[in-house]
């Protein structure tokens, strides 16, 4: 997949450290300044409404993120993994998906979740400790978050092998669209054996899967250089399928490049690796302290290529939208935030006995006995005086959350 070098490629522009020896091959369709570029390999023709839609997505997912961080600070969430800075990579790729496509996220894909139509509350449930996810992947063709780094790339590949067996890869017959899978993972994940095995399986099966790597420059405190001495998009060369690096802060480029990779997959051309070159503007999670390992200057340089500002600039300058539109989206964001806050606080704690549910489809007498014994044990507190274990008022932050918050102030990151 040839991509022509862009003089205005931001990584070059700000002279940031790329992975050692990185060429400046970076697909970009919208510069940080909001100037529209064109790339013969990735033609993209969007209506004003469509670009407005992307802008709305970007603003709203950022708002969800901001709100969640605040809720964590207030002890309403145990943790949050912020997508700040990665909105374009997630919205661009997320909007490239067709309804029939299946997405396998990592744990930071809140923007993709939004594009797939998952209720943001589901994400808060997970980070609040109410569930481990608990949504039905089939409902929005959006799989559960996977926390163990890299594991989901093999699930995505296997799912794609299922698509092949279902004859759901387009054979070119008129009107046939085909189905594809997209697997999300980070720069750090590329070092896991599982991710490399997923590359092997997908190449071996020519499976309809797109590997979407968000290179946000950091794996917690480790720079991408720790994982590879060549640009990550070149990893696929060792496995015999194409790789492409796209400006991950350019929602148009992410949309176009992901669309073309998905189309190729749906039409039986097999896997593609996309490296979305972006930046984790925030902490790794709410428990992380990036000042320990990275320079403020780096952050400043990346601020200049904010994924939202460039779209706003383009919309206004090109007249595709006016100030009123921008304002209207901001208001919508405010409403969304308020609703999220409320819904989060109102979220009931799971019942104690829910911990015993959904371990097996069939029955397990040993587990059932444990549940019954524990239920009886809990009842024994009802009549007898004495400490009812863990009497957490619904929706109130548990003491443990406080303990953790404090603990994390001293270090103790998760994910």
């Amino acid at each position: 997949m040839s991509v022509e070098p862009m003089a205005s490629a931001p990584a070059a522009a700000a002279g940031l450290p790329l992975a050692a020896g990185a060429p400046e091959e970076l697909v970009q369709l919208l510069t940080p300044e909001g100037e529209r570029l064109h790339n013969p390999d990735y033609p993209l023709d969007l209506s004003a409404e469509e670009i407005q839609g992307l802008y709305r997505d970007l603003v709203l997912v950022r708002r969800i993120d901001t709100e969640a961080i605040a809720l964590q600070r207030q002890g309403e969430l145990g943790l949050w993994a912020s997508l700040l800075g990665q909105e374009a990579a997630q919205v661009g790729s997320g909007r490239a998906l067709s309804p029939q496509d299946m997405a396998f996220p990592s744990y930071r894909e809140h923007g993709v979740a939004w594009c797939r139509g998952l209720d943001p509350i589901k994400l808060l449930e997970l980070f609040r400790g109410v569930s481990h996810g608990g949504w039905d992947p089939a409902e929005h063709n959006f799989h559960l978050y996977t926390i163990v780094i890299g594991s989901q790339t093999l699930h995505a590949t296997g799912y794609a092998m299922g698509i092949q067996r279902d004859g759901a890869v387009a054979d070119g017959s008129a009107g046939e669209i085909g189905e594809a899978v997209i697997a999300y993972f980070g720069d750090g994940a590329t070092s896991q054996g599982d991710v490399n095995e997923a590359f092997i399986w997908s190449a071996d099966n020519n499976a309809p899967v797109v590997f979407f790597c968000q290179n946000n420059q950091w794996a917690i405190s480790e720079p991408t250089e720790r994982q590879s001495r060549i640009p990550l998009y070149q990893r696929s060369r060792g496995f015999g399928f194409p790789g492409v690096r796209v400006d991950g802060n350019d929602v148009l480029a992410c949309l176009a490049v992901t669309r073309s990779a998905l189309k190729a997959a749906r039409e039986g051309q097999g896997p593609t690796l996309i490296e979305a070159f972006t930046y984790r503007m925030g902490a790794h999670t709410t428990t992380d302290d990036p000042t320990r390992y990275r320079m403020a200057a780096e952050l400043e340089a990346w601020k200049l290529r904010d994924p939202i500002e460039r779209v706003k600039a383009y919309l206004l300058r090109s007249g595709a939208a006016d100030a009123a539109f921008i304002e209207q989206i901001d208001e919508e964001a405010v409403k969304l935030g308020a609703w999220l806050r409320e819904a989060c606080r109102a979220m009931p704690d799971p019942s104690p006995l829910s911990a015993f549910e959904h371990v097996y489809a069939g029955s397990n007498p040993i587990l059932d006995a444990e549940r019954d014994t524990y239920a009886a044990y809990l009842d024994s507190f009802a009549d007898a005086p004495g400490p009812e274990p863990d009497p957490t008022p619904q929706g109130e932050a548990k003491p443990v959350q406080a303990e953790v918050a404090q603990a994390f102030a001293r270090g103790g990151e998760e994910l």
């Binding site: 163990v148 594991s151 590949t157 299922g162 279902d166 997923a198």
Partner: protein
Amino acid sequence: MSTLTMARSLNEGLRKALEDDPKVMIMGEDVGKLGGVFRITDGLQKDFGESRVVDTPLAESGIVGTAIGLALRGYRPVCEIQFDGFVFPAFNQIVGQLAKMRYRSRGAVGLPVVIRIPFGGGIGAVEHHSESPEALFAHTAGLRVVACSNGPDAYTMIQQAVRSDDPVIFLEPKRRYWEKAEVDTAASLDQALPLDVARTVAAGTDVTVLAYGPMVKVALDAATAAGQDGRSVEVIDLRSLSPVDMAAIAASVRRTGRCVIVHEAPVYSGLGAEIAARITEECFYSLEAPVLRVGGFSTPYPPSRVEDHYLPDLDRVLDAVDRVFGY
């Protein structure tokens, strides 16, 4: 009724499963043309095609990880792990993903994946080819762990495992693969003993011997030998290791008052420990003696020229039976 080896019984069971449900798949290393190193999948690729009987790249994590993805798409993969010692590259996918997906999704998705593992020693093999990792899986909630000990069970249990909506670790006693038995391939599964129920294979009154997989035969031989010394030994084939059929076990031990557990895996933190602890909790007043365990030593599996010392045999089981009467 036909006389089949256990290997062939498994092969027939898998064939039946492939016939009964078009979503059933077999995947693993060398399961295609070769039919697996033990020939358990012999002829299946020829008859069901390369997309249902799949030779995979050489990586166990990839095998189980992609099987999970296929299950999410509605397939029912049966993965073959070539030997017990090679399941560990897949351990992360098994305990971190396969076992947890239903819980993670609050029941929205189940993963009907079977992991077949030829396990145990006694075949004079090199390192990593004779291990018994059942306790590691039994300690992992979300998995069902079963072991067959004979051909007829192998034939039905593998079909039941494939039909199970829970992931099943299916342990096959490789040293028994070539033992023959009468198998009724016509019998319907509905009449079969449920997958999680133990079977009493020898009735007795003086002592209960619990075994599974390759050790059932050893336990039965011990029962016969002990019988000649006038001791009536009850032998129970556990079949299901997670969960274990405590109802059957406790009922027997309450009658006999004595119990010996036999497995090849190291005794230390092995499955026998769980069963012994449970029996003691549930049958405390019935026990004439502590539950005794006969198993492997706290060493890696030794070179095959000394494996007969490591593996519980007739004499060691009889020795334990004697000791359990010494209290």
